[in-house]
Structures are given as structure tokens and as C-alpha cells.
Subunit: 174 residues, 2 copies
Amino acid sequence: MADRVGSGAMSLYWHVDNKEAVFDLALDTVLEYRGPQQKAEPQDWRGEVLHMLEDWRASMLRHPWSASLLPRRALGPNILNRLELLSKTLSAAGVGDADLNAAIWSLWNYVMGATITRASFDFLDADRAAAQQRLTSLSERYPTIESSHLLLDDDWDGAFRKGLGFLLDGLPLR
Amino acid sequence: MADRVGSGAMSLYWHVDNKEAVFDLALDTVLEYRGPQQKAEPQDWRGEVLHMLEDWRASMLRHPWSASLLPRRALGPNILNRLELLSKTLSAAGVGDADLNAAIWSLWNYVMGATITRASFDFLDADRAAAQQRLTSLSERYPTIESSHLLLDDDWDGAFRKGLGFLLDGLPLR
DNA sequence: ACCTGAACACCGTTCAAGT
DNA sequence: ACCTGAACACCGTTCAAGT
């Protein structure tokens, strides 16, 4: 990092407490959200939620280190902004107060899990062909998994959207 | 670890390649699943899924290091066993082949996200009172979050079960 | 106010040598 | 076959000293 900035390695400590602090700053920077580009239809809550969560995931996947980082970091302002926005949207859509928090956390869980999993598969499978091979032979002993190609299907984006749809379908609206 | 076994630190390297290998072994050991204790009603697919996923989460929370570890690890036999079981149960419950993988991954995502988040909040909030204080002041600038007590509600188990219910409700059955 | 190099503590691993 | 200590590389951080 000091190289990138063109300074001595120790100079950084003047500006920042320690490594952890750098992580906090970097993470929250990645997670800035500017909202949907054109003003959306006021009634399209599904579209709004979908857009925000897909952007969330995409932002993190652009910086794969951020995925493994998020869980252990403090809640920065940009994360809280997203949660606030999510709250408002869901509430307006008709999710009752008694269900609101559970709904938000379930969406959070879903995005976190999907993003972290996706990012780490990228790491593991740097060598695409070898990975296919490995997963195929792994599958052999698990018939249902094998026949559905659970481990071989690599339409991650599609799976993300589809599963998110299931979850949104399950949210109880007033 | 060498202390625990009562050997010199370097002796470990005879039995195991390196640190990573130890992690792989430890993780898969944690995730062993014995199935529901008493033979469940054959038709109670929801109960079966719920039991397996709650056990999954509980197993990992018993060893909080495992949560942050899972994403970057290889898929061990015990994990695959769980996925296989999940496949079979959902399929039998009536989830169509075209939806099956998305359904499985969405449950996986949910469990991963919930467990990792929960485990790391425990780490961060070693000091309960200070954490409450910190979260309260954080909430101030986010009215919807504040009024719903999103950050202060600590019924994690309840939220997990409830959100999981939403997701299961949203799965399309034939 | 801002930058720097020397020094230290910590930790994963290698290797040659033991039994 | 199994264990060990010495040694090394790596990295986050402290501190006293510079401008």
C-alpha cells in the first residue's frame, strides 16, 4: 500500500491507527450506494429492493477481499444507509412492524451468504478446468447432487436473482 | 495445538501438511450431521429442513472460528452430505427440478449469512453494555432502523427461524 | 505537521539431525 | 516411523529521530 502511495511503509501509521482501521475505511467506501439511477416507479418495491441488493453484491464482488471482510467489521455509515433504505422500502411495501426486522435480516443473510460464497469459489477455482474435474468426481458419491449438477451449474447471477425471488415471495405483506 | 497434544510444535508437521489442512479437517469434523433424532413423520419436510439447518447453524456457533472459515474451505464430505440430504428432502416435498438448485443455494446462503453474522457480532460485542451504547448512538441518524430497534433486538435464534420461514414459504412447490 | 529506518514480537514453515 | 530445535522469512507495530 505504501508503494502505491509512494511513501515509506511507516508513514501510513501517521494517518491511520492500524491495519484494522484501513479495512474499516476500505470496506465502507466499497459499499456506498447512490440509489436507483432513474427515479423508479413509486410502487415498484420489488424492483427497488432487487436493484439495491444486486448492486450490493456486485459492489462487493468487484473487490473480493471485501466479502470475507464484511462480517467481522463494524457497521459503517454506508451499510447503515442501505439497511435504512431497505427498512423504508419494505415497510412501505406492506411488511408489518412485527415482521420487519426478521425480513431485513433475512435479506442481509441472503446477500452475505451469496456474496461470500461466490467470492470464495472464485478464489478456489482459479484453475477452471481442474475445478470442474474436482467437482465432478466429488459429486459422484452424492446422487441427487450429481443429477441436478448442483456443483457444476455456474450461472451464479441467475441463481442469485432466482433465490432472492423466492425469499421476496415469502415475505408476508399486510 | 502442540501444547494440547503434549508434543513439540514441529511434530505436527509430520501428521499434516500445513495449517490449511488442519482447518479443512477441523471444519468438516464440526459439520457432521446425524439426522433427526427420532424418525420424523415422512411428510414433515419443513420440520426436517428446519432441523437440519438449525443444527447446521448451531454446530458452527459452537465453534465460532468455523463460521469465518467455511467460505474459503473446500467442500468436505460432511457438507456434501448435508447438501445431498437437502436436495432429497426438497425434491420429495415438491420443488421442481428447474428450481431445485436455486432453492438449495438460497438456503445455503441464508444459513451462511446468518451464522457468519451472528458469530462475528459475538466477537465484536464481547462487552455487552458498551455495544448497546454504541449501537444506540449509531441508530440515531437512521430513523426507520431506530424505531424498529433493528440493531438492538437480540433474539437471534427467533429471527433466524422466522426469516427461514419466509424463505421456505417462498419456495415454489409443484 | 508529517515522514522515516532501525528494531522487536509473532508465527508458519523448512531442514538437518535425532531416536 | 516419528519427533525435535535451530534457523529463516514474513509482517504488523513501536519508537526515537529526522525535516
